[in-house]
């Protein structure tokens, strides 16, 4: 591997969070973005082709070294690391709505879900998956929520645009049902 790829590998190994492209550039100020990208490709190929237990993943606007899925069970059985807990269906629903409609207030989320979401918003905020991104105009200036970079990270998304657009979903909303 070229020295730049080794440098990036070392940095990615040292970090527990995905490293964004601009921070990778800061490691090697002389390297152009194209050189960084090609070094990352080299590293990815190195992991994939030569057969490694880890892989290079592009997640949450950055790059991260992750263990391969096939070894998860063994690692967990040996209690070396534990998978984070799954979110409840209610939390996922709330998160899905916020991801698509952000910035969005509590009332609008409740309108779509048909249930109160106050405590779920709080716990999602505690888990740093959502955050307050502003206040709406109008009565009481309610808080508006949006998703965080940790959300992208935990759902292995490079960016929000990676989620299908609303009109690409199987059930695209029709403007209004045909009158009978």
């Amino acid at each position: 591997m070229i020295p730049l790829a080794k440098l990036l590998e070392a940095a990615l190994f040292a970090s527990a969070r995905p490293i964004p492209a601009d921070e990778l550039s800061a490691l090697a100020p002389d390297a152009s973005p194209a050189e960084i990208a090609s070094a990352l490709d080299t590293l990815r190929e190195h992991y994939d082709v030569d057969g490694h237990g880890v892989e290079l993943a592009e997640i949450g606007g950055g790059w991260q070294i992750l263990t391969r899925a096939e070894y998860t069970e063994a690692i967990e059985r040996a209690q070396l690391a534990a998978r984070p807990q799954r979110l409840s269906a209610a939390a996922l629903e709330t998160l899905a709505i916020i991801a698509y409609r952000q910035p969005i207030g509590r009332t609008e989320v409740e309108e779509i879900r048909g249930v109160a979401v106050g405590s779920i918003l709080k716990s999602l905020q505690e888990r740093a998956l959502i955050d307050v991104v502003g206040r709406a105009e109008g009565l009481g200036r309610p808080l508006l929520y949006g998703t965080t970079s940790l959300f992208l990270e935990q759902f292995a998304l490079r960016h929000l645009e990676e989620l299908p657009r609303a009109d690409e979903l199987a059930i695209a909303l029709r403007p209004s049902p045909q009158p009978l």
Partner: protein
């Protein structure tokens, strides 16, 4: 999830709750009862994330067209299910049940006027259901991607938020001793201050104030104390003024915080 499973969960929660009630009675070799949610308000059943979820699964089970919901049948089924699932004291489920019955009533009303102007009372419900179903689709995507990510581990090392861990010390005994020696040398000579007591001249200050207010009614602090006055002079004057004010020879006033103190000749005090 099937309804049978849900019912099982409900009944097991009931029996566990009953176990909690008997906890006063000493038990022999029995594990602690699992903590359970309060009985009678089992809303957050894992099977259904809310009333719309329940309604959607009903529509799916009954195999009816979402754009042409047989509202009377679905409303009846919905009420039946919330009773079976003990959801009938959850306001959100009741609210949707009420809405269904209201739509059912509206459907029964005779239609006046042209067919084009008639608005289907189910339209709003259908819109909400579709919106909800669309969101469920996103939930499926998130669930899949979340599982994908969860099945791969990242490096576990996480620095404390906001601060990097300190690097381990690399230090030889010689270096340590040199450092100690340096500190001892720097602090060898303690600086000793000689404190000289200065007597205050309160009596002098009193006679000075008296001289001044004998000729005029008002004076200001700035006129009594020179700008370059020594601390002992300032203190003497302050004590003199307080003393004279106590004796009633003058009045002190300060119109606002940090303003110059105004001294006023108190004629009443003089008379007394």
């Amino acid at each position: 999830m099937s309804m049978e499973t849900t019912l099982e969960e409900t009944s097991s929660a009931d029996s566990a709750a009953a176990g909690v009630d008997e906890s006063e009675v000493p038990r022999v070799a029995e594990p602690e009862p699992e903590p359970v949610a309060p009985v009678g308000f089992l809303v957050d059943l894992p099977a259904f994330a809310g009333p719309l979820d329940l309604l959607l699964s009903l529509i799916r089970d009954e195999k009816v067209d979402i754009y042409d919901i047989p509202i009377a049948r679905i409303a009846k089924q919905f009420l039946l299910r919330i009773r079976v699932l003990q959801l009938n004291d959850a306001a959100e489920y009741l609210e949707l049940a009420a809405r269904l019955l209201r739509i059912k009533a509206q459907m029964l009303l005779p239609r006046h006027g042209e067919a084009e102007t008639w608005e289907d009372p189910r339209a709003e419900l259908v819109r909400r259901l579709l919106e909800y179903q669309q969101m469920r689709e996103v939930v499926d995507i998130l669930e899949r991607r979340g599982d994908e990510r969860r099945s791969r581990f990242a490096r576990a090392y996480l620095p404390e938020a906001g601060e990097m861990a300190l690097a381990p010390l690399a230090l030889s005994l010689g270096e340590l001793l040199t450092a100690v020696d340096r500190i001892l040398r720097v602090t060898k000579e303690p600086t000793v201050h000689t404190v000289v007591a200065r007597t205050l001249d309160v009596a002098g200050a009193i006679s000075m104030v008296r001289r001044l207010i004998a000729t005029r009614r008002n004076a200001r602090w700035g006129e009594l104390v020179a700008r370059d006055a020594e601390p002992w002079q300032i203190l003497s004057m302050l004590l003199a003024l307080l003393e004279l004010a106590k004796q009633g020879e003058l009045r002190l006033a300060q119109p606002r915080p940090f303003a110059s103190v105004e001294i006023e000749h108190d004629s009443t005090g003089e008379v007394a």
